[in-house]
Amino acid sequence: MQERTPNSSPILEQTRLGTSLALRASGQWTIHHALDLEGLIDAAEKLNCTTATVVIDVSQVAKLDTFGAWLIERLRRSLTQGVVEPDLVGLSANYSSLFDEVRRVKSGVVEGKEPRSLTAFLERVGRSVVGVGGTLVGLLSMWGAILVTTGRVIRHPSSFRLTSMIHHFEQACWRAVPIVVLISFLIGCIIAQQGIFQFRKFGADVFVVDMLGVLVLREIGVLLVAIMVAGRSGSAYTAELGSMRMREEIDALRTMGFDPTEVLILPRMLALVIALPVLTFLGAMAALCGGGLVAWGYGGVDPNAFLSRLREAISINHFIVGIVKAPFMAFIIGIIACAEGAAVKGSAESLGQHTTASVVKSIFFVIIADGIFAIYFASIGI
């Protein structure tokens, strides 16, 4: 009836003979024709054959793979009436074992789709609340582990990993100097420029020095550096610890009798706690330089006037208020980064989520902490 070239599309012919229905398959029943095949089978499954005996003839099939075999098997199942299965004829020896394989597949696929309803929504809300609780517990237990390990290391100072700490200090501090100095310098310039622009309206150009000094030393300097460090080193800590967890390196350490907190986390924490004040100092100086240059070039405040004004405007207290906050912020960033790293599950996606969460949470808590410090210093009158 039709020619059968080796590359012909799949065909399913129907012939009715009295009460029997013959379905003859021919052509290529392979994955390359998967869409055509599915259409053919869907149409054939709707056939009304309540009284007919059904025969599926596959002798003319040029090529068969799992797709074709499964679809024929599916057709055979859907045309089964009661216990009478359609006959499968013309099956070549090559393909009979393939049919044996697909015959083992049970119909009725397990569905893994999530329902979209109010309950599902409530469930998601509930899970996120539980997740927040879990995060807090994770942070607390990380804090506890760090305190316990610190206590032990203080009693046995030889167990402290100095080399590791120096390495992490280089990564977190030394290598961060250029970018921190550059960004702080630019922010100092911008603050000074905006300050001069606004103060000029009152003819109070020189007050820009007061504003710059107080702002940079008390707030902006440390906050800016903390945010940069959270993005730069906090994310790196989470990713390092997370991928070490994924590859069972942390388990390996534990089996060798090492405490992962002592080996991995304490050196990183200490490096960060030292790095942040150093970077804050350098950043504040760079911002003052930037502001000074802009004040000179743009506002006509020459360096000598700038310095003497700065000396009058700020006291050592402003500097101390800024620098004292730095180690606390380093501690916050470190704890969050390590706790997130320890919470990474087996997948690459989870690593990405926790790294993101580490940076977002660090920045959030750093700003919260800065607010609390502001209230505290205001109430003790510094």
Binding site: E38, S97, V110, G346, S347, S350
Partner: protein, 256 residues
Amino acid sequence: MTAFSDEAIIKVRDLTVGFHGKLILEHLDLDVKRGEILGVVGASGSGKSVLTRAIIGLLPKVNGRIEVFGVGMDAADEAERRAVERRWGVLFQHGALFSSLSVRQNIQFPMREFMKVSDRLLDEITVAKLVMVGLKPEVADLFPSELSGGMTKRVALARALSLDPEIVFLDEPTSGLDPISAGDFDELVKTLQRTLGLTVFMVTHDLDSLNTVCNRIAVLGDRKVLLIGPMDDMLASQHPWLQAYFHGKRARALAA
């Protein structure tokens, strides 16, 4: 039904691969025949994985020609190469399952990319593939981190088979499996070869696999193929490394 034609489905000629001025493979020739299971053995560092990766195009080669399905992989344009890639499946040594996708999504990933069929059919085919590699359909909703080593290999094989390829490359498929699972896996490869008419290119160190499933064995050494042929040729060879490999303590234990 292990009769295979003499048609070379993969033809490697004069292949030279090296890194940083050090040659791993030099003037290597190899033919893989349609429908056979070829075992590739060699000492650690002899370039088995390098050969596999060079054939599937993951490593650049210094010199040589690789033809798969009669298509020269260098001369082929992007579309031709894609077409060839759709006709082979690769099982990496550690599975290389996508860790953020479930087993079902892993197996369906190549299918969704290359064809448009209903979700129902995709799900059914996924179950069929899982059953074929000897797993339960319930595994479909697990994530790779929840699978055991043997299950990971089976799922990875199911993914490699998802587009009904003509060739599969297996990189140490039985390493890290217990002997029973390894035996099952060998049996599975044989069944799949029989039912789907697969050509299998298998890097392995498993003497049992070599003995029971491989039609031919290629031995890599001295940066080329030392010997290729059935097990009997290996046993008869006088080459010292082959002697040590096939007549060593472990091999004798197997023969006993």
